[in-house]
């Protein structure tokens, strides 16, 4: 439904683009309350969707299948800093006021483990094979923040592009229903405003909600596709008054103002190219555990490896595709050994692809500014700070 929407992230090297505060104008905005949100879950379920939404599990906001809107986090905030994430419970009923947990829609559309094929030897020596597992469910994602909508657009370019569509991804992506929740509560690790992906939702969704707490808990709702408008029409709602629209815009503008983390305001591909031999890689490597967490929580990192398994009889074989990371030695293993032995080279590879060569390869940045790699790095390595460190000598070296 929003499958063709692949350009939510700009492709000009990310020089502080417009944060996209212009409201979507296709159809009048409606107002729904918590009952309307509950009804939304029912309507989607009746339409055959499996609804994936934020929930609280083990001290973090995690994505899970929900049956009812009551399963959403209520009054939960996530406080993050480099290397830390803490949930705070309490003071209101906000359901979408939490920034990125470790998961994203990637976890469902590009699963961490997927069987690519299986093969069985039959009695007469022939071999029968079956292709990738087909998803049993059609997914609706509820409460996806705009940075993650942008990440989905990046994944669409990578995994659903016309040249090499990935059957595992496209089978899950086709027919998804996407409900974005505009960001009204960014955290300290967010920098979407530098990447032009938020906090407002401008495109790439079926339905957009803006949660408003001032003057009563309610949601401004806008359709972003015919399917979204159809679903919205089924919900108990009333026209949004100018005061509602203004309260929603104020909440999003406040989020915009609250985001203070920044990427350097210059062409990041140029920055990375110029920093190839920077001594700063040694500094990063002294702190980097090469544990792979940054890549695994990144909503656009898509690299995988394959594992071939056979059962004990040797009559049944399977090939599995598993999330991999450019931080493992095996990732760059060619005949004779790994190409990127040092942590310096592995961190450089990751950030160079993410901020630099991704543009050449896919016509967009690989980074959407969600801040997950900062918060979920156990060592608190900060992509914006590392980029700034690369930028610093350049700024200093410029002729007066």
């Amino acid at each position: 439904m929003v499958m063709t929407m692949v350009d939510a992230v700009g492709d000009k090297g990310m020089t502080m683009p417009d944060a996209g505060l212009t409201p979507f104008t296709d159809g009048p905005a409606r107002l729904i309350d918590m009952d309307g949100l509950r009804r939304l879950v029912d309507v989607l379920r009746d339409r055959g969707y499996t609804i994936i939404a934020p929930t609280v599990r083990d001290g973090a906001v995690m994505l899970a299948e929900i049956d009812a809107a009551d399963a959403l986090p209520h009054g939960v905030r996530a406080e993050t800093e480099a290397g830390t994430y803490r949930l705070r419970h309490g003071h209101d009923d906000a359901v979408f006021a939490h920034c990125a947990g470790p998961q994203s829609v990637k976890d469902f559309l590009h699963p961490s483990r997927a069987r690519l094929w299986s093969a069985d030897r039959t009695g007469d020596g022939a071999v029968t094979t079956t292709g990738p597992d087909r998803p049993a469910k059609r997914l609706a994602f509820l409460g996806v923040h705009p940075c993650d909508v942008a990440a989905l657009a990046v994944l669409d370019r990578v995994l659903a592009g016309p040249e090499h569509p990935d059957p595992v991804y496209t089978a899950r992506r086709d027919g998804t229903f996407l409900i974005t929740a505009e960001c009204t509560e960014p955290s300290a690790t967010c920098f979407c405003t530098s990447m032009g992906t938020g906090p407002a939702a401008t495109r790439g969704f079926d339905l957009a909600l803006t949660e408003v707490l001032d003057g009563g808990h309610r949601f401004l709702a806008r359709g972003g596709s015919p399917a979204g408008a159809e679903v919205l029409a089924e919900l108990p709602s009333r026209p949004a008054r100018p005061a509602d629209a203004s309260a929603a815009a104020t909440a999003v503008a406040a989020a915009d103002a609250a985001i203070t983390r920044r990427m350097p305001a210059e062409s990041l591909p140029d920055l990375i190219r110029a920093g190839r031999e920077s001594p700063h890689w040694d500094d990063v490597a002294s702190r980097c555990l090469a544990c792979g967490n940054c890549t695994l929580v990144c909503p656009t990192c898509f690299c995988t490896t394959t594992e071939d398994v056979t059962d004990l009889t040797g009559e049944h074989a399977e090939r599995w595709r598993v999330w991999d990371s450019c931080f493992s030695l095996d990732f760059s293993y060619m005949h004779g050994g790994p190409v990127r032995v040092s942590t310096q080279s592995r961190y450089r590879q990751w950030i160079s692809h993410k901020l630099g060569t991704w543009h050449e390869q896919f016509g967009t940045s690989g980074c959407v500014g969600c801040g997950r790699c900062i918060a979920w790095c156990p060592a608190g390595i900060d992509i914006t700070r590392e980029a700034a460190e690369l930028a610093a000598p350049r700024a200093g070296n410029e002729p007066a």
Binding site: D58, R287, E307, D308, W323, L329
Partner: protein
């Protein structure tokens, strides 16, 4: 049919019992291999050579050294199983201590002992084809390795961090979300991240990952309130010798 032998050196037997614990798969294993030497399971012993030898335990006596060479000679594929066999085990705590003093404290007649001053992994003495890490080993890795040897493919034995598996199975990071001490970032995967899955930190029973960063890991542990000595002790368990560089024991 391929023959299987299971051997024990200095160890607790837990890793070879992992094979007997494969309840659902055990009969299939028995259908695919001749269990030729497995004293925990049967007193019947068939003569070698053997297609696959699983070796548990570390080398702690001079007799062990001679015996592991004999076993290597009669084994087509030799796989070491568990932290004792791959790293010397917890008994390698002796490697930085005075064994004679230990023995005098523990035993009434220490002169009856014939032991080496060190506990060393099997690979320090003979060529090893594959190593299954862990205390104990992972049943899935054991079965996959047996299946792989039977059909002549490589088993999947990753050397990257436990963090990979935490994220693949969608565990919440206990370091970032709870401030728990966790050795996951410097520990080899293979256990399917079972400890973080129940909310506690990894204690490193699979030994170090491929390129562990000791100083960076020490910073993480210090944030949780651990002293330098606490950190050194954290590493001094089943894989003490393999973690020696990180614990500052080298």
């Amino acid at each position: 049919m391929a023959s299987l032998a299971v051997w024990k050196f200095a160890s607790c037997d837990g890793c070879q019992l992992s094979l007997l614990d494969c309840e659902d798969e055990l009969l299939t294993v028995a259908d695919q291999v001749t269990i030729a030497h497995f004293l925990e399971a049967s007193g019947d012993v068939l003569p070698g050579p053997y297609d696959l030898s699983l070796v548990e335990g570390s080398v702690t006596t001079s007799a062990d050294i001679a015996r592991i060479h004999r076993i290597r000679d009669i084994s087509r594929v030799l796989v070491t199983i568990g932290a004792c066999a791959t790293a010397g085990g917890i008994q390698a705590l002796r490697n930085n201590a005075d064994v004679a003093e230990y023995a005098s404290v523990v035993y009434a007649r220490p002169e009856y002992l014939d032991t080496l001053a060190t506990s060393t992994p099997i690979a320090a003495h003979v060529d090893v084809d594959y190593e299954l890490h862990g205390c104990p080993i992972d049943k899935g890795q054991l079965l996959d390795t047996i299946a792989a040897v039977l059909v002549g493919r490589k088993p999947a034995l990753p050397a990257h961090s436990v963090c990979f598996d935490c994220k693949r199975r969608h565990n919440v990071c206990v370091v970032v979300a709870h401030g728990e001490p966790c050795l996951g970032p410097v520990t080899r995967a293979g256990c399917r991240a079972i400890c973080p899955a129940v909310g506690r930190g990894c204690f490193g029973c699979f030994g170090p990952s491929e390129t562990p960063n000791g100083p960076a890991q020490a910073s993480l542990l210090q944030i949780t309130g651990m002293s330098e000595q606490d950190i050194a002790r954290f590493y001094r368990s089943f894989n003490v010798e393999a973690f020696a560089g990180l614990a500052g024991d080298e």
